[in-house]
């Protein structure tokens, strides 16, 4: 039995230690927002936060997450109103949408560490996330927009 803390909630799961966290999320816990794309950390569709770091859950053994803080797209913002989520909607980024949860999760770590990323910062941080529909321009713009929203939100409070 492994105890996981996912999106501020504790779960006890009875799975093999070497099971990738991705499949525990999807198959065992029904948190299907985290996507399977390649299984070898090449596409970023399965990106989650492990103690605040962006990791590829398809190559992260569940045992590594035991007792750690895991955040998935479902828990990024309780009301689905993270600046990135707002910006994604405002710029209508998605096409098929399959990769977008992973894109948002990668971008969330970037924005946490870099309040005003440049194009080059974004390109570097997002190089591990593939979008087969080619929405990269809008993703880039949406990250800039989210940085704006984040800044303004901070100014207000």
């Amino acid at each position: 039995m492994i105890t996981l803390n996912i999106n501020k909630k504790n779960y006890n799961v009875d799975v093999d230690q070497d099971t990738p966290l991705l499949w525990v999320l999807r198959d065992t816990l029904g948190l299907v927002g985290t996507k399977y794309g390649c299984g070898v950390a090449q596409c970023g569709a399965c990106t989650i936060h492990l103690n605040g770091e962006a990791v590829r859950s398809c190559v992260t053994k569940v045992s590594r997450a035991a007792g750690q803080k895991v955040v998935t797209i479902e828990g990024l913002a309780e009301k689905g109103d993270h600046p990135l989520q707002k910006a994604w909607l405002e710029l209508d980024v998605s096409q098929c949408g399959y990769c977008q949860a992973g894109q948002v999760m990668s971008a969330a770590v970037l924005l946490k560490e870099n309040k005003a990323p440049t194009d080059a910062d974004i390109d570097a941080a997002m190089a591990g996330n593939i979008c087969r529909c080619g929405t990269y321009l809008r993703i880039r713009d949406a990250i800039h927009r989210a940085a704006d929203i984040q800044r303004k939100g901070t100014e207000k409070t």
Partner: protein
């Protein structure tokens, strides 16, 4: 549940309205309790447009597409499978426009597969909007008419005195007004009008105005939407071990270790088609003999599959029985274990043989004989894998009496008859639920993975989800064919183009579109094609054939323009002027005016020839396909010896644009996709085996390689909408090749381009 709407061919544009069973698709019924929602509870648990669902309201169904509650929630069903082209939003917009609804009141739901009620339900060929444009307008207009009749009866006023405005019925004289919801229940009892008047397109207030993706919020909050997200209690997971190479089959296997692995339920072999099974036109498959592992969870099955001990052997020559198009025929599938080097040599050999003539104008042989200058170039391109982000998968629950299948599928109407035959069930006992697709690009028009899932479920007598890993998806795909084409152009002493010859071939098909530009613009013209049979399975890939032609032909024309000493845009415009004034031959597929229109637009908007753009290496290309026109100017720079596309200007003529911002997004995506595939895309074979397995050896364009800016301009006209998902894609390949020439001084004849940067040019 329903008869297939069409079998093998797309409906002709002119057949659209007639081809729908009008009475059934416009059937109206007053429903109490929203019973139709139940089968979709897993999807509809999350509401569109952020609107609160009132639970089980009394939906008044005005026709197959429209339901309205008394408190004015207007539900519009999207009939067509969604794979990122945004039909979930754009098709309901068309209904809402003619209904004259307020978009804020609209909630959208994906329709079930029900072709009698919802029409063709086919995603592909850039057809969604084209084929639904008139039927959906009529559905909206008919419902609006019925609501007005109901209000007239209620108010005891003449219907002619009523008008509508954004979901309200208004009687101006008496200042009376009411929302649609108030009249919906009564309207459902009003007979469907035999004729309805459609709006003047100039008065549109929903269509031609950008609306946000109705599933945007669900996408960014990780709600279950896709086939891979589909879940049913007690569902098992299945995976297939397939032969390591095309041309191989299973000889023997030992599953003893696999069966002892935790969670594993069963291992067995399964034939997809029994010998002599008559396949439909789109029933291509990859491998027929499947070795299946079924277990409890994905990871358990993945791990256990690796423990299988398998022996494979050459399958030799096999036969497929095809029944598509009402014509039963046998196709011989060669047994070769193909390799890319040998494929190229074979293509070179076949290129010099006589080929099938596809079109001839004038006397090309004589014209070439008398030419002052002849330019001859050969282009080729590899197989491509679709690499949809969501790998192939399908859910199936098959019992002796019925089947429920759910997943990502572009053409449910094509798959249903075969599925019924394979399962021995009548079509009305088969329910197909259509999930959102994580990409499609043509790949999901081929339902073999659905059949596989259903046969597995039938065998294990349980609900099953079949999953392809990325490696499965890449190595047993339905690929873009391998193409080649040799172009020849003859110039006279004054540098006029006097003859044009294209001879195209491929494995297993050629790509020549004989009646497209520059056919019609040159007096002496010859188009020929040849094809080499193969056991590698191929199918539609975003703008099939066009995606190669536009690369080859548009690169070639660039070189011909250079030889003629002309600007590449002016050169094309001169040819199009000829096609307009005095076209050569018959059956020219394109409209010369619209073609010229996008070239002029892209010339203007890109600042073609302007001094401030000198810093860029600029390439231009234009192409016609799916009844639409697209041109791009690509601005390239070199950094550290590598080419980067910095900026792209696109001009598109696809008639009326339904949802401008989403359409712009799709064009931008097509440009990025085109750059990616032309730079890096390629699938090779060795001994029949696909050499690429995953994204570490099949390169996909990434963010830092995408342009910083893509400006998209649509020609403004009132022509009925034509295709958009595909048309912007093909000309990117040509524009990139032409920009590469400017950047490197070298012509690129072989795709993908990046590996050719430092390679010695070769004819093949």
């Amino acid at each position: 549940m329903t008869k297939p709407f069409f079998k093998n061919n797309l409906p002709k544009m002119t057949d659209q309205t007639n081809s729908m069973n009008r009475r059934s698709f416009l059937k109206s019924t007053a429903l109490a309790g929203g019973g139709l929602m139940i089968s979709f509870t897993w999807l509809s648990a999350f509401k569109s447009s952020g609107k609160t669902d009132p639970g089980l309201p009394a939906w008044a169904e005005l026709n197959g597409y429209i339901k309205i509650t008394p408190d004015n929630i207007i539900k519009i069903l999207n009939p067509n499978p969604e794979f990122g082209q945004n039909v979930m939003t754009s098709l309901p917009m068309i209904v809402a426009e003619e209904l004259d609804a307020d978009w804020k009141d609209v909630v959208v739901e994906m329709g079930p597969h029900d072709s009698l009620k919802l029409g063709p339900q086919f995603t592909g060929g850039s057809n969604s909007v084209r084929m639904y444009w008139k039927p959906l307008r009529e559905a909206g207009a008919a419902a609006r008419y019925m609501l007005m009749q109901a209000a007239a009866e209620t108010w005891k006023l003449p219907a002619e005195e009523l008008t509508t405005h954004a979901g309200m019925i208004v009687h101006a004289k008496s200042m009376k007004s009411g929302k649609y919801g108030e009249f919906a229940s009564k309207a459902a009892g009003i007979p469907i009008p035999k004729e309805v008047k459609l709006k003047d397109v100039q008065t549109f207030h929903v269509v031609r105005n950008s609306k946000k993706n109705v599933e945007g919020l669900k996408i960014v909050t990780g709600k279950p939407l896709f086939g891979l997200d589909y879940h049913q209690e007690g569902m098992l997971i299945a995976m297939i071990a397939h032969p390591p190479a095309f041309g191989m089959k299973l000889k023997s296997f030992d599953a003893s270790e696999t069966l002892q692995m935790p969670g594993i339920k069963d291992v067995f072999t399964q034939k997809l088609y029994e010998e002599g099974f008559e396949q439909g036109g789109f029933d291509t498959r990859t491998f027929n003999d499947l070795l299946v592992v079924v277990g409890k969870t994905t990871w358990e099955v993945m791990k256990a599959r690796k423990k299988l001990k398998t022996e494979w052997e050459p399958a030799g020559e096999t036969k497929d029985t095809m029944g598509g198009g009402g014509r039963k025929r046998e196709i011989v599938v060669p047994g070769d274990l193909e390799s890319t080097g040998a494929q190229l040599e074979k293509m070179q050999e076949w290129a010099s043989k006589p080929a099938q003539q596809l079109r001839r104008d004038g006397d090309p042989e004589t014209a070439f004989k008398h030419a002052a200058q002849i330019i001859e170039r050969t282009y080729n391109a590899p197989f491509l894998a679709h690499n949809c982000m969501e790998p192939m998968n399908f859910f199936a629950h098959v019992t002796d009496e019925k089947a429920l299948v759910a997943g990502p599928l572009q053409a449910p109407g094509w798959s249903e008859p075969t599925l019924a035959k394979l399962l021995g069930l009548p079509a009305d006992k088969i329910e197909i639920q259509l999930t959102r697709m994580g990409g499609g690009f043509g790949r999901r028009a081929y339902g073999h993975y659905l059949y596989e899932a259903a046969l597995i479920s039938k065998r294990v007598k349980a609900p099953v989800k079949l999953i392809y890993t990325r490696e499965d998806d890449m190595t047993y795909g339905i690929y873009r064919p391998m193409y080649t084409a040799t172009y020849r152009a003859a110039l006279d002493a004054r540098k006029n183009l006097i003859a044009f010859h294209v001879k195209g071939g491929g494995i297993p098909e050629h790509a020549v579109h004989a009646n497209r530009f520059p056919a019609g613009t040159v007096d002496n013209y010859l188009a020929e094609g040849w094809q080499i049979p193969s056991n590698i399975t191929i199918g539609a890939f975003r703008a099939p054939r066009s995606n190669f032609n536009a690369a080859a032909e548009q690169s070639f024309l660039d070189e011909v323009a250079e030889a003629a000493g002309k600007d590449p845009i002016d050169f094309r415009l001169e040819l199009l002027q000829r096609a307009k004034e005095n076209p050569v031959g018959k059956n020219n597929e394109y409209d010369a005016d619209r073609y010229a229109g996008i070239l002029k637009l892209v010339k203007e908007k890109s600042g073609w020839g302007k001094a401030e753009n000198k810093k860029y290496n600029r390439g231009v290309a234009a192409y016609f396909c799916h009844n639409s026109y697209a041109a791009h100017v690509v601005d390239m720079v070199m950094r550290d010896g590598q080419p980067y596309v910095e900026r792209v200007t696109s001009a598109i003529d696809c008639g009326i644009v339904i949802n401008p911002d989403a359409a712009t997004n799709m064009v931008q995506g097509a440009v990025v996709d085109g750059i990616g595939n032309s730079f890096y895309g390629g699938l090779t074979h060795k001994g029949g085996a696909v050499e690429q397995k995953n994204f570490y050896d099949y390169r996909i364009i990434r963010m830092h390689e995408a342009p910083k800016k893509i400006d998209v301009y649509f020609v403004q006209n009132d022509i009925d909408p034509t295709g958009l998902g595909e048309p912007p894609f093909p000309p990117v390949f040509g524009a990139v090749a032409n920009a590469l020439f400017k950047a490197t001084g070298k012509r690129f004849y072989q795709q993908p381009y990046i590996p050719q940067l430092n390679a010695t040019p070769r004819a093949f």
